[in-house]
Amino acid sequence: MVVTFVRLRFRILANGLRGQGSRVALFVLGAVIGVGLGVGGWFVFAVPGLADSERAAGILLPLGGGALVLGWLFLPLVFFGVDETLDPARFALLPLRRRTLISGLFAASLTGIPAIATLVATLGMVETTRRLGGLGASTVAFVGVVLGVLLCSALSRAVTSAFSTSLRSRRGRDLATIAFALVAALLGPLQLAALAGAEHADWDRVADVAAVVAWTPFGAPYTVGLDVAEGRAWAVPIKLLLVVAAIAGLLWWWSSTLERAMVGAAGSSRRLPTLDTGLPVARLLFRWLPRNRFGALVARDVRYWWRETRRRATLITFSVVGIFLPVMLALSGTGASATLLFVGAVAAINLANQFGFEGSAYAANVAAGVPGRVEVRSRAAGFSVYVIPLLLVIAVVVGFVSGSPASIPSSFGTLIATYGVGLGIILPTSVRAAYALPDSTNPFAMSSGGGLAKGLLTFAAILGAIIATLPVQLAAYLLGDVWLWAGLPVAVAYGTAAYLLGSRLAGDLVDRRMPELLAAVSPHR
């Protein structure tokens, strides 16, 4: 039965690639990157073994493994989404027991590139253990590493599924916000430990942290081999039990949220219809918007960012990451300004597939012949309604947390500059590289390759934004105190200019490629 699921996954993947040159290229590129990361990771994790250092192994294996698991928790939510080649909702009508369905979907999810790359990378730990403790230890380590991959995959599935369920219900969205905050907060201590340890070269403290992590499900699968090598074989069954229990718990969690999602897909009543007496135009448009085409487009976009699950997930994720990341780094004393560059660029990246969000509904705008520039600028404006106040909040919070309120205007300037430059890069990309999102109930769902496309775009755009804002950064560095008051207007002007350039380019692209864009974002029927 499990084999059927795996075969089905590959069949769908192959059919999706057939005759689609760009998708094949993307898939191959993804495989190459996956292999590269896997092999690179293998060498990193094999280093303590090659150097014959038990102490280094005791630090690297639990912390590196733990970071991997955290990455599986965090990255699908923020950047990549989960590969949903097999959409669980499609199985709703089949007479499958839940156990069969879950094990099938789980097995299929393990055949993806990320899971294989993770396995390859962590096999480096097996090599380390073999050199330190011989064949017996490495066999145990191998079991641990395999369990580790299972844990990673189960974790990402369970968390994205749970989030999509709670994001769909209106009552649950506050809950989702809080849970997200917790996830982000979880990252904090790890970063702090890593930073503090690295800065002060206080390896004893790091070793203490590593020893603790080794006893959590995050580090346990990666340290069992080491335990054998160091003569603590008694710890192995306990740790394995811990990991297996964690996997079982996650799978149970996944299956329970999945069931709700599947039922929800068949027929859902969001809220009781109540009567509204306003006039249609006043109900669509906010008071502050002009009563014309641009106003209607912006109003629709603003409403969509909140009403549509995928966009809401994007927005909430960005809010939490955007606030927590700089604050965490500001608390640890360094790097807050670097993360501001990152946050501004990531804000713009949320629009990387802006046309894919509503899919074929874009046909309405095509049929009405909306000019490209109006289309692109209204979308940027709709998103900015949320983002610009948020960036202001981030600047203020970071300013106070890092103890230099005077830098708030220039920080805000940096954020606006990177956001503007990011938009300048992303808006044309969003027209050229639009892709259809699967018609799934899971807002984190990606078709095969979609996650990679998004990830690549993200890194390219961050890099581009950072390079393009170099003049502003250089000015900030050279001018010192003058920048504190001159920074805001200069940076805002810089960001605005980049945005105007990008939106003009994107608008012309839309005018030329309207039907092609519509075809690109319409899911295959």
């Binding site: 007496t277 006043a282 669509l284 309405a364 909306v370 309207m514």
Partner: protein, 259 residues
Amino acid sequence: MTVPVQRSADDGPAMSLQGLVKQFDTKLAVAGVDLDVPASSFYGLLGPNGAGKTTTLSMAVGLLRPDAGRALLLGYDVWADPATAKGLIGVLPDGVRLFDRLTGAELLAYHGLLRGMDAAVVDQRAQELLDVLELGAGNRTLIVDYSAGMKKKIGLACALLHGPRLLILDEPFEAVDPVSAALIRDILQRYVAGGGTVVFSSHVMEVVERLCSHVAIMSAGAIRVQGTISAVRGKRSLEDVFVEVVGGRTVTGSELAWL
């Protein structure tokens, strides 16, 4: 820009498709369609599933770029001068989503303003349409929660809102219950009586037979027969003509014995 410049009916056909071709990967979906729709006609485009009706209409309204051919709407080439041509027509596409996270009233307001209409006119017409189509002017249900029939009705309302002289509707009667279908029929008949032109696709013979002045039968990406309904039908029923033109298969009784 609320009322586009109109041309008189004798200027020529309301819609004229000339040699439209569309190839998808390996499949030739539309293999050269020529079709003239006279002004003030009620034109039915018939065809089995997969005949290329949706592809043809998508190319006619500017949603899908043809590989070859031209599409003239009220005399304007939709691919050479999209802004003008698109402003003159109302479209109900099939198989694409609406902006379904809006309520019915919000969607109508959106379409109205998108077409450059005055806000007061949008309000007045939108409420009237919601009322006549029994969608409830004060209804706050999001369109995503509408029934299939209600979705068709709100889509039709969006196409009618700006008072176009040519309506191009893809499967307007699909998934619509008999009561709503009768309502839509009445609205469309009044629209044609008032000088408008309707082109719609369907595979339901009864509707076409009852409504249309003209009909074209499409199969495998080409128009097989076209003309006034009496000329196409002759003395037979439209269904007989359709099956003969399309070449359907009949069940003899030996297959599916297990049923």
